[in-house]
């Protein structure tokens, strides 16, 4: 009997039957492959960070590194009932290919979700994608030639960085502060590019509860950004995975709504409001762009999973999806509060961090002599993990910042995780003081601390240039009083 090949292994059956493995790769094979790689792979970097991040999967590690929603709150019995119903009533269709653009029923669900934030896209402008990540990939694939300028926030969504890199975009990052992307800095950059005869293909932004910074673009800046898009005829890519996960404050209008769908391309996802495992997202774009995107998606994967589209349609037909989001909001708000409280207690005065009104992330910034990739190695010895800030930059900046996730861990884990991270930061602060003879920051400079309200812009945050090289660009900062 032939050996079974490519058997899936789970922890339960690991080791009982080894899968067939091909022979060892020899040095000359490596050379041969290396000679075949496309030029763009030179920009697709693996990293020390990635290896370290894989260690965070160890069960004993408290990981504040993921971007994971809490799927344990989704009731298994309703999952079972929905899938059973699909199997009984639409088995053949659910197992078949579907249209590249996605099913009309899925678009109806998308319309409901976008309607909750006041948007009403033409279904013809919508394509269902394999997660929001594919939507980013399709946009870049459609618009960017090697060397083309694209603009994003500093810091930006870490998952967008490899997409920009693999299409060899020339990426410019615009500083953010408490009110999101600095529009004055953006305009200066656009002027500079225009003067050099270069036209950016798009401005990528996560305007609400940004990943990783947690900040939200203010209403004034939203209006201005849309104006700029019209004035300069430049596309804006609005990535809005977290818009409905607001824990305090007034809702802000999506750019897509302000613009009417002319210059703003919109990305949405079911990952954070239902499940990331179903890999279901979408993209809204005007017809000329959509036409090319559809061709691009055909080339990539023909269509998004039919089965998961059936699941979402079934789930939405029960009419309780808003209730589930309400439940998530309650849970995440409490976790955010626990994290902010723990940061106050356990992070040294030299650290500062954002206070998000929604979403999944807090962004903390440490003194510039601490490299958070190295710090992660130290933290892993204490079984705790975060995302080093460099992941959110294309150019090696952000080395002293870290992204902390509060949605994927329970309150006790968050408290303990922040306590451990605080301890290793304090250790390094003290060590640096001992090495340089400087001890902590003098009390006088602490007197200028900003008020601890969520939306207070930091006084004097008026840096220039698109780079937050001084580490002071993401605000509001909170510093613990000693």
């Amino acid at each position: 009997m032939a050996e079974p090949r490519d058997q899936p292994t789970s922890p339960a059956d690991a080791g009982t039957s080894a899968p067939h493995r091909r022979a060892h790769t020899r040095a000359r094979d490596l050379e041969r492959y290396a000679g075949l790689f496309a030029e763009r792979t030179r920009m697709m970097r693996s990293s020390a960070m990635r290896d370290l991040m894989e260690i965070t999967a160890r069960p004993e590690v408290i990981s504040l590194a993921g971007g994971l929603p809490d799927t344990s709150t989704f009731p298994p019995e309703s999952f079972a009932a929905q899938m059973t119903k699909i199997a009984q009533e639409s088995s053949a269709e659910a197992l078949q290919y579907g249209p590249t653009e996605g099913f009309d029923r899925t678009k109806e669900c998308i319309r409901e979700v976008m309607g909750a934030e006041g948007m009403d896209p033409d279904p013809e402008d919508v394509i269902v994608t394999t997660g929001g990540q594919q939507a980013i990939d399709l946009i870049v694939k459609t618009l960017v030639d090697p060397g083309d300028p694209v603009i994003c926030e500093a810091p930006t969504y870490p998952g967008a960085v490899p997409v920009f890199c693999s299409y060899q975009a020339d990426t410019f990052q615009v500083a953010t502060d408490a009110e999101g992307m600095r529009i004055d800095v953006l305009e200066a950059l656009l002027d500079r590019l225009a003067a050099a005869g270069r036209r950016p293909k798009f401005i990528y932004t996560v305007p609400s509860f940004q990943n990783p910074a947690g900040v939200t673009l203010s209403p004034e800046r939203r209006r201005r950004l849309v104006e700029i898009a019209h004035e300069r005829e430049v596309l804006v890519v609005e990535d809005n995975p977290y818009g409905l996960l607001r824990y305090e404050g007034e809702p802000t209008e999506p750019l897509y709504k302000l613009d009417g769908g002319d210059y703003v391309l919109y990305l949405g996802t079911f990952s954070k409001i239902l499940s990331p495992g179903i890999r279901l997202g979408w993209l809204c774009a005007p017809p000329p762009v959509m036409e090319k995107v559809v061709l691009g998606k055909q080339a990539s994967d023909l269509c998004t999973s039919t089965l998961t589209q059936y699941f979402v349609a079934e789930y939405f037909s029960e009419g309780r999806w808003r209730d589930y989001i309400d439940d998530l909001v309650e849970i995440y708000r409490a976790r955010r509060d626990v994290m902010l409280d723990a940061l106050d207690r356990h992070f040294p005065v030299e650290a500062s961090w954002t206070r998000p009104e929604g979403g999944l992330f807090v962004w903390a910034t440490l003194p510039d002599y601490i490299d958070t990739t190295d710090l992660l190695a130290r933290a892993l010895r204490d079984d705790v993990a975060f995302v080093p800030g460099a992941a959110a930059y294309v150019d090696g900046r952000g080395g002293s910042s870290m992204r902390l996730n509060f949605s994927g861990s329970d309150e006790e884990e968050i408290r303990e995780g922040i306590r451990r991270i605080g301890r290793v930061i304090s250790e390094q602060v003290e060590l640096f003081g001992a090495i340089t003879g400087e001890h902590s920051i003098p009390p006088a400079s602490r007197a200028t601390d900003v008020p601890s309200t969520s939306s207070a812009p930091r006084p004097g945050a008026d840096g220039s240039g698109e780079g937050p090289a001084d580490g002071s660009s993401v605000l509001p900062f909170r510093r613990r009083e000693r």
Binding site: A23, H24, E430
Partner: protein, 312 residues
Amino acid sequence: MKVAVLKGGRSLERQVSLRSGARVEDALAFLGHEVIPIDVGADLVSTLRASRPDAAFVALHGRGGEDGTVQELLEILAVPYTGPGVRACVRSIDKVAAKHELRAVDVPTPDWAAFNSVAFRELGAADALEEIEAGLGFPLVIKPAAGGSSLGVRFAATADEVPEALVAAFSYDDRVLLERHVAGRELAVSLLNGITLPAVEARPREEDRFSYEARYEIGRTEYLCPADLGAAEGPVIDAALRTWDALGFDGFGRVDMILGEDGPQVLEVNAIPGLTDTSLLPMAAEAAGMTFEDLCGRILELALERAGAPAG
């Protein structure tokens, strides 16, 4: 024969170790052995007791696996194991300890100064930095005493860059060293049972010098094997052999050195060098006409010979 392959563990080099282990498992299975893959954790001793292997192939890197800890346990359990014994592991895992051993027998190694964090916290070592910097000159190489794969290794071009580099290195170990930078060719000389294999020269792209990633990514570092050493071949082999003896190695090992104007200078010694697709020991073995399977088989034989057990 029943061979346990020890891999993974809690070290920062866990991923590299898993890749090494997977390759070794394939090779051992090809050679007809019964392979017991073990991701090393709290149940290591009970797993070894329960599975009763005839030998253990240690494919661990970094803390726990390469520092003598696992080797000590295997001795207690009387399981023959591959690679150097406890003594060589203990001496080579700590770059500072290794350099002292080398100095003692006049094997050339770059000048250095080493500190633990207590020296800075409680003994005012910072006050001595200026003298050290003056003595060693810039650029300085600053690195954690333990650990491999270039993790935490930094260049400091000026005195201003030293404190930050020290803090980074202390992230990986409680002891760090400042070392004189020696310009030259990067060589890795692997040894099998006290015999040198052809030297591998690593030529990283300039921006990738001391980059962890570049070591494991195809196409980012150019490797030449056998390296064209010319007249330096004698001194290079001599340095590798004397290092092997000085640290009490047996089984296999890898000596990393810089071939500068004044000949080779030994930087560090790896008790359990990487055994991945892009690793240098397998590359050297291949240049000597050994397949990876031959190499693993020979390493296993050496382990059994040392333990006095019949091979095969």
